[in-house]
């Protein structure tokens, strides 16, 4: 088999047009990778500048009432991950800015896609676009005629008479094309690594490793399937058109159609329904029997009893702060219920989408690529969760200061000083580590393995029946 692979490579290298094309393609890939990294870095700088600007505004507060500060609030800017220069996933369509303030959990706003006319349906020309769309097509072009041309020239029969089996021939030809794909993939990732060498953490290595594995398996599926079809069909044309039809089905039709189906099977509420439901739960109580006025009365009675006083003015603390925090705690339950339900629906949609890997390995590749690049919906939710945790920390700290900082109930003019505001820690998003997220994408890897295995088995068991002429 190694001899056949080497012969195929020799034939590939003898083809000057292919060599030139490969060279041009490599240069193109390098430029695309470089541009992706530059664009990523530029966006990171913008994000960093916005973050620092907002933090500086916070730190410049000399004196302010803590509740005033809760309304003043802060902003979380969605960070750009290092590997999103490979695959930007959902980053362009989700918002970039999240307002963090008291009383309310906001939604992200100002997505890049909403800031201009439409440009491209398949996203920016980042390495993922080439790795997912262009290289597989290249592999199809390199292998669709690999066996049919042997048939047309009458060499297939000759090769079999010389002792080579058809399955071995298919595997050898598939592997030679597969190695070519891996070479392109390796160079792309190497380029990423070399330019970002100073910023690469062990976690980035493992994420890159999984990305490499995902693409490697997908290329194996493409190379073996195309070569197999080349062996099954009599003409180059039939092999090429069949494989192109499969490619279009996998990359264009199924992701959109199945994505839409998952939304129909697990529908999200409309924004209006979502907001109305939250508003109702906020005012009437989660169970519909505990309105906010009643909750306030209960808290007041409890606190007066706890401090053994008759009126709020006798309290040594500021009851307003306690009341606001109780309202926040209650609000948080409401947000958790409704936002949680939405996240849960979206998770179900994602899981159902992942199941489409059974009939569409491209879906599995997409999930692995953007998942390990840290730019898929699950990472987006992770960012939202961390930002919301920070909002809760921030508002609780402010409410505690309002309660126990030295003011009395009803004193809304009391102000906390600069030291207090400086002591509030900044929001810092931490990307989840690979070992904590790998379970999410296990199913995608399994499907890719299964696809590769099934095709190999099909080739092994059915190639004997292939017509040699």
């Amino acid at each position: 088999m190694i001899t056949i692979i080497l012969n195929e490579w020799k034939a590939l290298f003898r083809n000057k047009i292919l060599l030139l094309l490969s060279l041009l393609f490599l240069i193109g890939l390098s430029i695309v990778s470089w541009l992706g990294i530059v664009q990523n870095q530029e966006q990171q700088l913008q994000q960093q500048a916005a973050h620092e600007h907002v933090r500086a505004q916070w730190e410049s507060i000399d004196a302010m009432n803590p509740h005033g500060a809760a309304h003043y609030g802060s902003y979380a800017f969605k960070p750009i991950t290092l590997l999103s220069s490979i695959d930007e996933g959902v980053n362009a369509v989700t918002g970039n800015v999240l307002r963090l303030e008291g009383h309310v959990q906001n939604e992200m706003a100002y997505s890049e896609a909403s800031q201009s006319l439409s440009i491209s349906k398949f996203g920016k020309l980042k390495p993922a676009l080439l790795l997912q769309f262009v290289i597989p097509l290249l592999l199809i072009f390199l292998s669709f005629a690999s066996i049919t041309s042997e048939k047309e020239l009458g060499r297939l029969k000759l090769l079999v008479f010389q002792g080579s089996s058809v399955s071995r021939l298919i595997f050898a030809k598939s592997l030679s094309v597969w190695f070519y794909g891996i070479l392109l993939l390796f160079i792309t990732l190497l380029f990423q690594v070399l330019i970002n060498l100073n910023n690469i953490t062990p976690d980035t290595w493992s994420r890159t490793g999984f990305i490499f594995l995902g693409y490697t398996l997908y290329y194996l599926i493409i190379a073996t399937l195309t070569t197999y079809l080349s062996a099954r069909f009599k003409s180059n044309t039939a092999a090429l058109t069949s494989m192109l039809a499969i490619w279009i089905l996998w990359t264009i039709f199924l992701p959109s159609i199945w994505g839409n189906t998952t939304s129909i099977l697990n529908p999200l509420p409309t924004k209006q329904q979502f907001k109305t439901a939250m508003k109702e739960d906020r005012s009437k109580g989660l169970d519909g029997h505990n309105p906010s006025d009643k909750r306030t009365e209960e808290l007041e009675t409890k606190i007066l009893a706890q401090y053994k006083v008759d009126s709020l003015s006798q309290l040594p603390i500021n009851f307003d702060g306690l009341l606001m925090q109780a309202d926040e705690d209650y609000g948080n339950q409401v947000w958790d219920k409704h936002f949680g339900r939405n996240y849960s629906i979206l998770q179900k949609q994602k899981q159902l989408y992942q199941l489409s890997g059974v009939f569409n390995p491209f879906a599995s590749l997409q999930n692995i690529s953007m998942g390990y690049s840290g730019s898929d919906m699950l990472h987006h939710h992770d960012f939202l969760r961390q930002a919301e945790d920070y909002r809760r920390y921030l508002i609780k700290t402010l409410n505690d200061k309002h309660t126990y900082g030295g003011s009395k109930t009803g004193d809304w003019n009391w102000e906390a000083g600069k030291d207090f505001y400086l002591s509030i820690k900044d929001f810092d998003y931490e990307m989840p580590l690979t070992n904590t997220i790998s379970g999410r994408y296990l199913i995608d890897l399994v499907f890719l393995f299964l696809w590769a295995t099934v095709i190999i088995l099909v080739i092994s068991f059915t190639s004997k029946k292939i017509n040699l002429l």
Binding site: N96, Y110, L117
Partner: protein
């Protein structure tokens, strides 16, 4: 052979090619799927807007009942402009175009209704888009424009890759030239059949949806303009493929060139333009707007009353004649928050700056249409179906118009110490399209 005879024989060739027939059927299926997706979205948005309109009407009726004392208003005094305006529902809406089934464009990137208060602004977070799975948006919705712009060329490839190529594969190209007209005319005649077939198929799938949304009555020119763009777009591909086939060396060779061209025009060039646009104009974190809505708004709130009065008179000189003497601004306005007109002015100015920055990027995108024709056709179709950036910019302007009205009503009626009667309240409702 005569031109018409070649077209007829091409029909026979087509019906005897199951692969091509199946491809056409699949394409028609995808077109109907895309049209239905757009139509569903159109209905969903209309239904949602109807619910909102119903709720607004209820609020308006509650306001009217308060004048007749049919409802208990609590501390709400409807004779005061602030309360009367509080009970004036003012939802700015962007109604979906009846042509939406033909392209949903950027619809899913934006909100399409907003409940306006005098503290709102056109870039409010309230205006965030409808809840949707971001991955599905990122992968691209399979709407009709996607089918036409991206899948139609693929169908054309399938229909045409072996036209002229098969004869070259089998080596009887010369025979064709002997038996019929020149090979270029022969190819042209065969291509004509597919042009007619495709355009007829598209018209037939488009017409029912145009009828369902009443576009044929209400927006006939819009419908035919869309069809015209599709026709021009299809012809461009046919012409490009005609030259490939004319110079091609066989079916595989032609298929390779056609697919490469598709990949270049539909994926690589738009992606490259997108990348360069993002490099030149990175995603805006809207810090100017955030500063205005927070720090600069706070600055206005902390202004002394006299400064607010002076700034208000500067902004609305018409108030000058009516400035009550010896009153503080607070007394003359008799309400809290006399600073909303100033905040509105600040936000309007900032929004204009943001819009200008975004427009720079749009101008850049337009300048790249020559290398990104897909972008041109996509944005033209989106514009015709009111689902492009500019349609939503127009919506933001409508929102601003509502805010201006709300702010001005309160300012002028309070300043004039006007008692809001039921009739005046009706005028409010009318101004915000609730009556």
């Amino acid at each position: 052979m005569r031109y018409a005879t070649i077209i007829k024989s091409e029909f026979r060739h087509f019906v005897r090619s199951p692969f091509k027939v199946i491809s056409l059927v699949l394409f028609i299926g995808a077109s109907i799927y895309g049209l239905q997706s757009g139509y569903d979205l159109y209905n969903k948005y209309n239904k949602e807007l109807a619910t909102i309109s119903e709720a607004d009407k209820e609020t308006a009726q509650k306001g009217l009942d308060l004048y007749d004392k049919k409802e208990e208003g609590g501390r709400a005094d409807m004779t005061q402009p602030m309360w009367a305006l509080y009970y004036t529902p003012s939802t700015a809406v962007k109604r979906p175009s009846p042509l939406m089934p033909f392209s949903i464009g950027q619809t899913q990137e934006y909100g399409y209704y907003m409940k306006v208060t005098e503290w709102s602004n056109a870039f409010d977070q309230d205006l965030s888009e409808e809840l949707a799975n971001p991955e599905h948006i990122a992968f691209g919705t399979l709407d009709f424009s996607f089918v036409v712009l991206y899948l139609m060329p693929v169908l054309i490839i399938i229909l045409l890759f072996n036209i002229g190529g098969l004869e070259k594969d089998l080596g009887f190209q010369k025979l064709v030239e002997i038996n019929s007209m020149s090979s270029s005319q022969w190819l042209m005649a065969r291509f004509t059949f597919y042009v007619l077939l495709l355009l007829l198929a598209l018209l037939l799938v488009m017409l029912p949806y145009a009828m369902l949304t009443d576009s044929l009555k209400g927006n006939l020119s819009g419908f035919f303009t869309i069809y015209l763009y599709i026709l021009v777009y299809a012809l461009i591909w046919f012409v490009a493929f005609y030259f490939i086939n004319l110079k091609g060396k066989g079916s595989s060779n032609q298929a390779l060139k056609m697919v490469s061209l598709w990949l270049l025009v539909c994926v690589v060039l738009p992606g490259a333009v997108h990348q360069v646009a993002s490099l030149k104009y990175p995603a805006n974190y809207m810090t100017e707007y955030l500063d205005a809505s927070r720090d600069e708004t706070y600055d206005i709130w902390y202004l002394p009353q006299d400064s607010i009065r002076l700034k208000l008179l500067e902004l609305h000189p018409e108030l000058q004649e009516r400035t009550p003497q010896n009153d503080t601004i607070q007394d003359s306005l008799k309400i809290e928050y006399p600073d909303s007109p100033l905040v509105n002015h600040l936000m309007k100015t900032t929004s204009a700056t943001v819009e200008n920055k975004l427009e720079e990027k749009n101008q850049f995108i337009k300048s790249t249409y020559i290398v990104n024709p897909i972008g041109f056709f996509q944005n033209r179709l989106n514009a015709l179906t009111s689902s492009d950036y500019y349609a939503y910019k127009q919506f933001r302007e409508n929102i601003q118009n509502f805010i201006d009205k709300k702010v001005y009503f309160r300012l002028i009626d309070t300043w004039n110490q006007k008692t809001v009667t039921k009739e005046r309240y009706r005028e409010y409702l009318k101004a915000f399209n609730t009556l």
